[in-house]
Every structure is written in C-alpha cells, then in structure tokens.
C-alpha cells in the first residue's frame, strides 16, 4: 500500500547546522503518528517541509504521492495543518475565520456554510460561533484550530503541539477529539509533542526525532519490546509462595527463555504471550497465583532510554 506520508533522505540545513538529517519516514493511512522529540529536534521543520512551506535542502517529501516541493497546492489541499502557535483574526468571529479558510480552499458558497456549521458542531463551539475570537480561551482557540482543518476534510492532519498550554481537562478533551475525528473521518494524524503520556494515549505508532535523526520508529507496542526485552515479551508473575520446583516447571514451558526472580515477583521472558500456559502450569502444580501481567513501559522510559543513548 502506498504510504500517506513519505520522506526519502529528507535533509534541511541552515548554514552549518543540520536540523533534519536524512529522514526516512513512512506513515500509513489511518495511523495516528506521534512525532516525538525534545525542543529543537527538527519536528516542526519536518512538518513544514512535508507541507511545502519550507524547501528541503535535499531529499524528497511526499504526501499521498505528491511531491511537497513541486506540487505544494495539491499537497496543501490534501493536508491540514495546525501550527504550534496557531492564530486567528482576533477581531473577527470564529465562524468568519472558518469561512475565510473555506473560501481559500475554493469551496462553493453553500458548501462553505455547511462545512463551517458542521466543523463548529464537531468541536463543540457551535454556540460561540458568532463570538469574536478575542473572547476565546486558549483551549477554545485550539479547538477552533481543529475545526479549521475539518473545513477542508483533509486526508492528513499535522498537529504541531496541539496540547501545549491547555489545562489537563482540556488536554483530555482535545486528545479525545483528535482520536474521534481520526476514526470518524478516516484521517491520518501526525501529532508532534514532547508530552509523552498524551502521545501514548492516542497514538498507535511513534517516531522519535533527536537532533534531526529518527532514532526509533514503529508501532508503540513493538517499540516497548524492542527497547527493553530485545523484542521479547516479559510476563510478571506474582505467586503467594514461590518454590524453586514451580520455577523449574515454568522454565520447561515451550517458548520460555528465562525466569528471573526479583523480590516476590517472577519475571518470565518468552518469545510470545504465554500467559495462559504459565497460568496452567502454576495451577497444575498447586501454586497460588496472585496476579500476572505483561510488563509494559511508559513511553517516557523508552524516550529516556533513546535520549540518553543519543
């Protein structure tokens, strides 16, 4: 399948500083891609190059097969962009701001009205559509920005730090909104952030950019295993009483690579998810199972691991 977003050796240098270094990225349709990295890692520059707003020094960026540098108009028609410091015409109403966007997209006048109404509805701002944007809170403006990209029903949406500067409640709402829209409109979403727990909540794959290089990229669950288990599963088993006989029995299960004891926990490393087999062995050997779970890592752990390596 053709990827929605693709970059080939994308590079951007300013003078001597390489901001984005030979980036190769593939994002499939329907993904919610979390673009991670510390400030100044080159996330925004990459997004701008993908949108054709900045020219790459070398390499190619493509959106739905269109070259961002040579076909910027087609690319911009297919993609929506919410900049980090998104702004609206403060002395105009929210609805007028959206109408302007719709007209810039060349929608017919009846479609303009329809889309504006729908977009305001989806983000829950239809009641304040006639108010001037200067009366809006930061969170409301951020939602208006989402409405702004809904106007053109893009295939890809680039959200640059969409949750920066809003309160926790607002962040939760915002993320829910993004996830819902991505699902309902079948939109591919690229979300740049350095707030890791949030990305973890809604993204199904992430890419981590450090100093312009993609240090790691892939599906979130795969990443966790890569980072800590060498691609294997780790199962935490807590027993009422741990006996060495039981440990030996677990070791004999097909697929189990090793068993470690740490405190009253047993850490079972295995090639696949063997929880049912492990449970059966424990019960068969009259062990008392308290709890058992697949060990999971917060994105933060992964982030810190790669960050310290880089």
């Amino acid at each position: 399948m053709r990827p929605v977003v693709e970059t080939v050796d994308l590079t951007k240098t300013y003078g001597n500083a390489t901001v984005v270094d030979k980036l190769n990225l593939r994002i499939e349709e329907g993904d919610i891609f979390g673009f991670l990295g510390p400030n100044g890692a080159g996330k925004t520059t990459t997004i701008l190059m993908l949108l054709g707003l900045t020219e790459p020094t070398s390499g190619v960026a493509r959106i739905c097969g269109y070259n961002s540098t040579r076909d910027p108009l087609k690319v911009k028609r297919l993609s929506g962009y919410v900049p980090e410091k998104v702004g609206f015409y403060e002395d105009l109403t929210a609805a007028y701001n959206l109408t302007y966007t719709a007209r810039l997209n060349g929608l017919s006048e009846e479609l303009v009205m329809k889309r504006v109404g729908e977009a305001l509805d989806i983000v829950g701002l239809s009641e304040v559509g006639g108010h001037k944007v200067q009366e809006f809170s930061r969170g409301m403006k951020q939602r208006l920005a989402i409405a702004d990209i809904l106007i053109k029903m893009p295939k890809v949406a680039f959200l640059d730090e969409p949750t920066a500067g809003i309160d926790p409640e607002g962040v939760k709402e915002m993320l829910g909104l993004i996830a819902r829209i991505a699902r309902e409109q079948k939109m591919t979403v690229i979300l740049s952030s350095h707030q890791l727990p949030q990305v973890q909540q809604i993204c199904n794959c992430v890419g981590m950019l450090i100093k312009g290089r993609m240090v790691v990229e892939g599906k979130l669950d795969q990443l966790e295993r890569d980072a800590f288990g060498g691609g294997r599963f780790r199962v935490e088993v807590q027993l009422a009483e741990t006996t060495s006989a039981l440990v030996n029995c677990i070791k004999r299960i097909k697929g189990v690579i090793g068993v470690e004891k740490s405190g009253d926990l047993l850490l079972v490393t295995c090639q696949e998810d063997l929880r049912p087999q492990i449970a059966k062995v424990i019960v068969d050997n009259n062990g008392l199972l308290v709890q058992m779970k697949i060990q999971s890592y917060a994105l933060e752990d992964i982030y810190m691991k790669y960050f310290s390596e880089a």
Partner: protein
C-alpha cells in the same frame, strides 16, 4: 485566482472597518474642507479670471493655511503607511500567516491581494474626499466644473492613488523585512519625515557643493536646477510637481530655467495648456512614481516568496 480574490475581499473589508482608516478619513476630510473653505473665501473676494476657477479651489492657499493640494501631499503617505505597515508582520506574529499559507493558495496571492485591496481603498478614500470637498467648494463659489476640469481632477486622483500605492508598497516592504509592527511603522514614518524635512536641506547642500550660486544669474540658475534635480529623488516632490501641472493648467514647465526666462520678457501668453499637453509634461514624473512603486513591490515580493514561514 480564487485565492487572490478571497484574500482581496477579506483585506478590503478589513481596511474599511479598521479604526485607523476611519480616523484618517475624518482627519483628511476635515483638513480638506478647511483648506477648501479658505480657498473659496479668497477666490470669491478677488475675482480675477473665471477660467478653471473650480480647480483653483484645490490649489489656492489662504495665508497661513496650506492648500488642499499640500494637505494631500502630506497626508496620502500617512494613509498609505497606515494601510501597509503591519500587513505581513502582524499576521506573522499572531500566527495567522502560517495557517493561511497552509491553505491551497499561492503565496503571492496573499501579498497581491493585500496590495490590490490597499490600492482600491486609497482610491475610494481619495475620490470620496475630493467629491465631498468639491461639493463644499461648489456651494461656496457657485461655479460648476467644466468637463476638462473634471478630467483633470480624475487625472489628479489617479496620480494620487499611485502616490499612495508607493507609500503603501514601502510600508509593506518594511512589514516583510522587520518582524515587529512598531519597528516597521517607525521605519516608514522615518522615511516620510526625511523626505518632508530633510530632503530640501540636503538638496541645497549638494547644489551648493556642486555649483555654488555666485553673482551671475547663470550660476544661480544652475544651482537652483541642481537643487531641483536632487529634490526630485523625493517622491513627495515628484508628486507635488506632477499634480501642480495637472491642476494648474497654466503651468508650462517644471524647470527653473524656462520660468526665469519667460517671466521678464513675458513674450509667452499665459494661456492654459490642454490636458493632453499637461499630461505630456507630467509623464516622466508619473512613470517614475509607478516605477518606484513597482520596485518596492518587487522587492517585497521576492523577499516574501523566499521567506521561511514558521509560527514561532
């Protein structure tokens, strides 16, 4: 094309609803009415020649108060600057620029749309002021304008619009190069002040250095000629000379030399020129004004097209 039209209408609507536009409109209108009032009083008190008496409304100054023309020479730059000084940098700092440019429009649509909307705004502002002020004058002197006077006024309005467009182009240029709104406003105002107050001093200085005015008439004329040539660098002077020719049909030349020669001998009859002849005289001035505007716009254009668009 549709991007350009959308930007144009939005900017046009914006220009007209801005407070600064309303304030400037009222200011220019008041100054204009005042100047015309004084001029009309002067004209009615001394009946000399009824030829082109309506046009004299715009060029007659009454004692201490400058003529309508002088007001226009001073105020049109301010109108142009007010319309252009924050065109790009305010959109950049408020974050609307990157949002607008991520829409499927060409980048030049934004700058072209803003420029054209500004030109139309200036044209409408000047036309309505001239009509309003002319109405006041008409009531006072009671002589309606002839068709040639109307044509000359239209030529005057067109020239003034080009002049306003130049100042707006200059202000837009600064708004692209300078990131802060206050800085770009000050930079444009500084240039305006320079041309108003310092240009004649500098011209005098240069003329004195190149050809000091001595005892002989020839050297004085030569010095004055050089001074005028240097002054013509200033768009203010260019515009003033051009509109004087357009509104005072008796003006035959803009050079000092011919005026000096013509005066004592008075062998030339003070007959007014036809509009075509007047236009021929101002043609170089008009072309220069248009060229200056084009240069400002072209530089802005090139800079803006290569600009990095970041929201931060």
């Amino acid at each position: 094309m549709q991007g350009l039209i959308t930007v144009f209408w939005k900017e046009f609507a914006d220009d007209f609803t801005r407070w600064r536009f309303i304030i400037l409109f009222v200011l220019v209108l008041l100054a204009g009415v005042f100047a015309i009032y004084i001029a009309a009083e002067n004209i009615t008190s001394e009946v000399v020649d009824t030829k082109f008496v309506f046009l004299r409304l715009f060029t007659t100054s009454g004692g201490a108060l400058p003529s309508f023309l002088t007001f226009i020479v001073f105020f049109v730059p301010i109108v142009g600057i007010a319309l252009g000084f924050d065109a790009i940098n305010s959109e950049r700092s408020s974050g609307t620029l990157s949002r607008v440019l991520s829409q499927p429009i060409y980048r030049d649509d934004v700058i072209n749309g803003k420029f054209l909307a500004g030109v139309l705004t200036i044209a409408i502002l000047l036309t309505s002021i001239v009509i309003l002020v002319g109405g006041v004058g008409l009531r006072m002197i009671g002589v309606p304008p002839s068709s040639e006077e109307v044509l000359r006024l239209i030529a005057f309005l067109a020239t003034s619009t080009v002049y306003g467009a130049f100042w707006m182009g200059l202000a837009i240029l600064f708004s692209i190069f300078l990131r802060r709104v206050a800085t770009s406003a000050l930079a444009s105002i500084a240039i305006w002040i320079f041309f108003i107050f310092f240009m004649s001093m500098i011209a005098g200085f240069i003329a004195n250095a190149l050809a000091p005015a001595g005892e002989s008439v020839a050297s004085q004329v030569r010095s004055a000629e050089i001074q005028i040539m240097v002054m013509r660098i200033s768009p203010l002077i260019l515009f003033q000379e051009a509109v004087v020719v357009l509104l005072v049909p008796g003006t035959r030349t803009m050079g000092q030399l011919l005026q000096l020669q013509a005066m004592p001998s008075s062998s030339m009859l003070p007959n007014p020129l036809s509009l075509g002849q007047s236009l021929l005289i101002v043609w170089p001035h008009l072309v220069t004004l248009i060229a200056l505007t084009a240069v400002c716009f072209a530089v802005s254009y090139i800079k803006f097209m290569r600009e990095e668009i970041r929201s931060t």
